[in-house]
């Protein structure tokens, strides 16, 4: 039996000790350096564009002591214009839905990586469909206000949890967007101690083969984790995927090719428990892979999916060599 009390205490300590670092309301987060989330329209079930299931779920955690109304803002929610990915002509519709209440997070289907069964668990608090809309192109749309108490209280995080799902319902264009959990409806004002996470990340890589454009995601390694299995999809063999942690400096992991999955296991070291890993994605140098959209998820040895926090729990892991100097015999 895993020690959930430990991780609860740990996260609580992190929330209180490092409030500034955990303003993880921007999705993708600043430490992730990911330009956009992406969800495609489902027509034709074409996955080769970089979305395996035409749906993306994120959770927001709001510290239980935060009582004020809050907002969930979406950047460029429509499908069309400069930011999104056109396939033939703009014909795509998306629905964004915000859930709270019991089961919005704790329902087993909510923690999956596939939009199946009751993945829309919980109480629907707000929903809206979007298509091409020039008024919202490269602008923010705001859901809310929401009462924090309308979320699902999750003791392990000492937070109220809300869920937002972006489902493609028609068309085949790619919807590029971002979220922000905000105290204000008209600007992005973070809530101290809040965070966001997902179990499956579908995002756009930078359209730049300068290796300084490194994207990161930060799976959190829970206690009891012996190994992880990462699965990534449609990476088009675009560059290098390396894992950095407090214990390892750039361990190379395999990347998928066009429209296929690849997975690999990696043993977890004791010192990595209770911390985040840094999955780094370096785009290929040389020939540029444009508009590369990718999917990734991680599970532990029990098949449980691990969270990718927008603000990495414990901070961005930094590898620190441990030097040993010994006289030669």
């Amino acid at each position: 039996m895993r020690d959930t009390r430990f991780i609860q205490l740990f996260i609580l300590l992190i929330l209180t000790a490092l409030p500034g670092r955990l303003e993880g309301q921007a999705v993708p987060g600043p430490d992730e350096n990911i330009p956009f989330l992406i969800t495609f329209g489902p027509d034709g079930r074409i996955t080769s564009w970089g979305d395996d299931d035409f749906s993306q779920t994120f959770f927001f955690t709001i510290p239980v002591d935060y009582k004020d109304p809050f907002y969930i803002r979406i950047y460029d929610p429509d499908i069309g214009g400069k930011t999104d990915e056109l396939n033939n002509f703009w014909n795509t519709r998306m629905v964004y839905s915000v859930y709270g209440g019991k089961g919005c997070y704790t329902h087993p289907d909510a923690k999956g990586i596939h939009p199946t069964n009751n993945y829309k668990s919980g109480t629907l608090l707000a929903t809206r469909a979007f298509a091409m809309d020039n008024k919202l192109d490269e602008r923010w749309f705001t859901f809310g206000p929401f009462n924090p108490a309308d979320g699902e209280y999750y003791q392990k995080f000492s937070s109220n949890v809300f869920k937002i799902i972006c489902d493609g319902i028609s068309g085949d264009d790619g919807n590029l967007y971002r979220y922000f959990l905000s105290r204000r409806s008209d600007e992005n004002v973070p809530i101290q101690g809040a965070n966001a996470f997902t179990y499956e990340y579908t995002f756009r890589m930078w359209n730049n083969n300068d290796t300084s454009f490194v994207s990161h995601i930060y799976p959190f390694i829970d206690s009891g984790c012996i190994y992880i299995k990462q699965k990534n999809f449609d990476w088009d063999s675009d560059g290098d995927f390396v894992v950095v942690s407090v214990e390892r400096k750039g361990q190379v992991m395999p990347l998928s090719g066009e429209d296929n999955w690849v997975e690999d296991r990696m043993p977890i070291l004791d010192a990595e428990i209770g911390k985040s890993l840094d999955f780094r994605f370096y785009k290929r140098r040389g020939e540029l892979v444009k508009n590369n959209n990718v999917v990734i998820s991680v599970e532990n040895q029990y098949g449980e999916n691990l969270q990718f926090f927008s603000a990495p729990i414990g901070g961005v892991p930094v590898y620190k060599p441990r030097l040993k100097v010994t006289p030669k015999k």
Binding site: Q251, L323, P327
Partner: protein, 469 residues
């Protein structure tokens, strides 16, 4: 002429590291010499006066030599000597002796023809005899089979295993005067005497052989080049050949006659005889003042070579890390790898740092870890000397690289492992005999404010080859 055999006289001088004391409890005012130590006392030779009725004299009224025994008392001190036995020989000189390892057989020197009726002094030669111990009595006196009325055989020494008998003789065929010979016990009989050869024997007299447990054959010789008179020296047997003798230094040898050397197995104490007090032979006890530590640290070489490891990376070093570890050793040296090795020129404080190069981006992450490496020399006295030297070759031994911080050194004391010593930060030494010598350097501090004197010892071996003179 019997007396002259026991009292050859010559001259010489030198220096050494022994304390010498006249053994007054054995001194009589007459000749007292050639002590041998038994379990319960000391047997020695003397021509002392006993009383008017018992004092042995020859036909010319000259006092004769006899063996005396001084037992140890309960405190280990010597008690008053008395004649060892009255039945070893009547009207004859009874002289230097040796006793078998089991203490039951006495080998002793005696005139071949006892009695007062001898007219010519030279005609009464010396021979070796044995006596068997029975309780406190000595009996069954038997002559050595090679005794001969035409020459002297004397100064017996029976080896510790009882299988070799060394003695001295002026028998024909020798190098001159007295030579040292040896017989081996083969099936209960003594083999024919073998002359020990020209290294041991000279044209002068070689007398009083004593084979120490170390393998050294000590004897006295009046050959030229010594300190004067009889000098005590030793030779060692190597591959069937006795080496050139090495003379003992002052104060064992003096400008007078020094002879009849006897040492306990460790070699640090024993007895010898000398007429340095003039007129008579006396017994002296010596004890080594040589400092030699029983436990002395072996000299260690300073190590300036180190291995540097990023232990974390080592755990995963079979994996492609897309990184390169670059070490800066703080002395200008650099190396790449999760494990690196580097040798410094010497002691010092070095700022070792590790850069990690991201092989994907080419970015160098500077000083991902650093380590202040302080290299110190080993705190020890240091012996600088060649590992190998030829016998007869003079070498210099230097202690100037001694590293003992906080210690004000008052004395550098050298023990060369051959019972010779020297003092000074740099000394010279000539080893005469091939072999492996364990050199000790003992460094002594000035007395500190608390009155404490520190001493530190290191040792190392020097191989002396037989290629020298």
């Amino acid at each position: 002429m019997t007396l002259s055999v026991f009292s050859l006289r010559l001259n010489g001088q030198a220096k050494g590291s022994f304390e010498v004391q006249h053994v007054t409890s054995l001194s009589s005012g007459s000749d007292d010499f050639a002590p041998i130590v038994t379990d319960d006392g000391i047997i020695f030779c003397s021509n002392r006066k006993t009383n008017p009725f018992l004092t042995k004299k020859n036909t010319e009224g000259v006092r004769l030599y006899d063996l005396y025994f001084a037992p140890f008392n309960a405190e280990g001190e010597l008690s008053k000597p008395s004649r060892l036995a009255s039945n070893l020989g009547k009207d004859a000189n009874i002289g230097p002796a040796s006793i078998s390892p089991d203490g039951k057989t006495l080998y002793f020197t005696k005139n071949l023809v006892p009695g007062k009726n001898l007219k010519k002094r030279d005609s009464n030669k010396l021979g070796i005899f044995t006596a068997k111990r029975s309780g406190s009595q000595w009996s069954d006196i038997q002559p050595f089979e090679y005794n001969d009325p035409t020459f002297n055989i004397s100064y017996p020494f029976i080896s510790a295993d009882g299988m070799s008998l060394y003695f001295c003789s002026d028998m024909p065929g020798g190098s001159g005067s007295y030579d040292i010979y040896m017989c081996e016990n083969i099936d209960g009989r003594w083999s024919k005497p073998v002359n020990l050869g020209s290294n041991v024997n000279s044209s002068g007299a070689e007398i009083h052989p004593f084979l120490h447990s170390s393998g050294r054959l000590y004897f006295a010789s009046d050959r030229p080049g010594g300190m004067g008179g009889l000098d005590i020296m030793f030779s060692t047997l190597s591959f069937g050949t006795w080496s050139k003798p090495v003379r003992l230094d002052d104060p064992i040898n003096s400008e007078d006659d020094d002879f009849a050397f006897y040492a306990v197995p460790g070699g640090f104490e024993g007895y010898f005889s000398s007429n340095r007090r003039k007129y008579n032979d006396d017994i002296f006890r010596f004890a080594s003042t040589i400092i030699r530590w029983s436990v002395c640290d072996t000299l260690q070489g300073n190590n300036y070579c180190y291995e540097f490891v990023d232990e974390k990376a080592l755990l995963l070093d079979t994996l492609d890390m897309k990184s390169r570890w670059e070490w800066n050793f703080g002395d200008g040296g650099r190396a790449a790898g999760i494990i690196a090795e580097h040798c410094y020129a010497g002691p010092g404080v070095y700022d070792v740092s590790l850069d990690i190069v991201n092989l994907v981006t080419g970015r160098v992450e500077k000083r991902q870890a650093s380590y202040e490496l302080e290299i110190l020399d080993i705190e020890q006295p240091v012996i600088t000397a060649p590992d190998t030297v030829a016998a007869g070759e003079t070498i210099m031994l230097n202690a100037s690289e001694t590293y003992l911080p906080g210690m004000t050194i008052a004395r550098y004391y050298w023990n060369f492992g051959d019972d010779t010593v020297s003092e000074g930060i740099e000394v010279s030494k000539t080893f005469q005999i091939p072999g492996r010598y364990n050199i000790q350097l003992i460094v002594t501090s000035e007395r500190d404010q608390s009155g404490v004197v520190r001493e530190v010892c290191v040792c190392r071996d020097i191989e002396v080859t037989g290629n020298g003179n």
